[in-house]
Amino acid sequence: MAAGAAVIALTASGCGGGSSDSANGGTVTLTVTTHVDYGYRNLYKEFEKTHPGIKVKEVLVEDLPKKLVTQLAANRGAADVVGVGDDIIGKFKPSHERFLNLADHGVNNTDDPWVQWAYDAGTVEDGKFVMGLRTDIGGLGICYRTDLFKKAGLPTEPEKVAELWPTWDDFTATGEKFSKKVKNASFTANTGDIWVGMGNQHKETFFAESDDSFIADKNTELKQDFLTAANMSVRKVSGGYPPFSPEMANALKTGKAATAVCPAWKLDRTKEASGPDNAGKWSVAAAPEGGNWGGSYLMVPKQTKHPKEAVELARWLTSSKTQKQLFLDEGYLSSHPKVYNDPEVQAKKDPYFSNAPTGKIFAQAADSMEPIYRGTKDSDVASAFMNALLRVEQGKQKPEAAWDQAIEDAKKVAG
């Protein structure tokens, strides 16, 4: 009966769980928690080899932000290095004092620099306080089924395909052309993914950079994006397979959706969802209007017992040298211009995706990026808009009405 009450009180009063590290016989054990697989497993071994006396243990925590807040509130239990997504880091910015200022530990963006926008989004206090170090970036691409494109009489070469859709409106138009020829498949999987991809193409989205105030209702660019995405449902260009759902995986596998929004880190998931039978049927092209979706930050909570070693690990994992290897081995796109402009990286092709030049496609998107401002309540209001798109997809509302309600819903949260 008291469970509901107890949950809140336990977290607020500080009964976090789990200890993070133990020192025995001069060995320091560092714990790393990540919210998804960062592809680091093999890298830890290398780090341990080059840094004798340090052992690294990784724990994957699916609802990491929720656990992390309780650990920060309790001032115990957090890992030595924590990874959070770039869409959620804003929520931790008001509490940046709970993390080490990595600038005090020699981090800057001049030696081994990250792409500026990605570095900036991990800092507060006008860059004086470095909260997180950027891991990968997503870039933005569109995965597409060459067999279905052929059936619809569309080109199948990545460069030609990208020329079909310089803008999202062209993307919709292509979809309508596709739907006329192919009846048993939707042009794209869902509108939610497209919306998220678009949202990363503006300097400001829901909140103003100047004072963190809610501006979504005045942001005409954002509204335009929303209507464009929502109209893909109305025009039956989208199949309405919910993002990250088993239904979507099924649709990719059975060829029910011809395209899906693909940042670099999603290639692996697309591959996994579609299965080996579809090898060579997929390809990747640049997304309309460029952009970035995803990527993470490594942060070091102040409560760590091994600040020096933890910073060293975070720095090492996000360095250009490590990130290059990570791209070549696991396909995660580097946040260092030096890496994504590296000829070896640009030359990388993926056989599963019809040997599309993935390195080149994603690097283009990354270089054309503008820094994005993430408000402290960004992730709180995001669901209001995802719900609105869903309502249009479910046929419950027209795009304009859905937008109006989304603004009202978001205002309630934004205060």
């Binding site: 088993p246 239904e247 419950k396």
Partner: protein, 326 residues
């Protein structure tokens, strides 16, 4: 109650013995202390744990609810009843309350009726009865996450089996998540699936204690099986039914995992695109762990606590009445 009676009852034979052979006052004091207070000592661990993990958090949650309170940064200032005022003016709260109520009627009500029926079936002489009895609790043993994920797929709009069947019979496919009625039915199905077997076993245990003579006498009088069930079996297990109704109400009021995982957006979801199936507990989770607004979540937790107490009380009274009819 029984605890306070225990020492008195035990003391009675002690008195004459003391008269026969006078003991040292020290020893008798110890033994009197032992008899009087040891029972309390034995049950003390429960109350200590209960105090630390239930009473203290409960009171502390109440304290938090009178503040603006962020999970990480803690106290942001006293607001008195401000959070409560906001909550009662919050349309999402009433929406969640409605959904919780609907699920309570359909899901919890359904699960108890299904449990009663299952128990009646299992109470007959079946070959391999142990197998069937173990079988009905199986859904309860399986992780709720797995169950909900499987059901979410069965109820999938375009690829779900339920819709395939509907289409086969000639109906339209239903987007189960899209509307309140369809979502509540779907989530109730998951709840019934998960809990019916559990309560069936409790009912069954009680039914086995009902004397056969009663049934035989009724049968001789020409009562039908149905009549025997409702007029003899059910009234005979009344205390068990009351217990199960109260327990399932408490559980039902806190329904969380089934509807949350039924949402296509998982734990990021708000119970449907228009909060069609967001329950109170889901709203609490959204406020507390997505927005990190501990003050508001604590307020909701306390209101839920009171609501559960009231609804359980009503159901207690109702179930006593219904079961004692006839």
């Amino acid at each position: 109650m029984s605890v306070t009676e225990l020492p008195r009852a035990a003391e009675a034979p002690e008195a004459p013995a003391a008269r026969r052979r006078p003991r040292s006052p020290w020893r008798s004091r110890i033994s009197r202390f032992d008899l009087r207070y040891t029972p309390y000592l034995f049950i003390l661990p429960f109350f200590v744990i209960f105090g630390v993990f239930a009473v203290y958090p409960l009171l502390y949650t109440g304290w938090i609810s009178f503040h603006e309170w962020a999970i990480i940064e803690g106290d942001q200032g006293w607001t008195g009843l401000g959070n409560y005022q906001d909550l009662f003016a919050d349309a999402y709260f009433w929406n969640a309350l409605l959904n919780t109520g609907l699920l309570l009627v359909l899901g919890t009500g359904g699960e108890l009726l299904a449990a009663l029926w299952l128990a009646a079936v299992l109470n007959r002489k079946l070959s391999g009865s142990a197998f069937w009895r173990a079988g009905v609790v199986l859904p309860h043993v399986i992780s709720v996450v797995a169950v909900s994920l499987v059901f979410a797929q069965l109820f999938g709009y375009q690829t779900g089996i339920f819709n395939d069947v509907l289409e086969l019979v000639g109906f339209d496919r239903i987007n189960w998540q899209a509307n309140r009625w369809s979502a509540i039915i779907a989530v109730s199905t998951i709840i019934i699936w998960r809990w019916a077997g559990y309560f069936a076993l409790i009912f069954l245990a009680a039914m086995q204690g009902v004397p056969h003579e009663l049934n035989e006498a009724a049968m001789l009088d020409g009562a039908s099986k149905r009549r025997i069930f409702w007029s003899i079996t059910v009234p005979s297990i009344r205390p068990t039914i009351v217990f199960c109704v109260v327990m399932s109400t408490i559980i039902g009021m806190q329904t969380f995992a089934e509807p949350q995982l039924f949402d296509v957006q998982g734990t990021e979801g708000t119970g449907g695109s228009d909060r069609q199936f967001q329950t109170l507990m889901m709203y609490l989770y959204e406020k507390g762990f997505r927005e990190f607004n501990a003050g508001y979540a604590a307020t909701l937790a306390w209101v839920m606590f009171l609501l559960i107490a009231v609804v359980s009380g009503i159901n207690y009274a109702l179930s006593r009445r219904i079961a004692s009819k006839d």
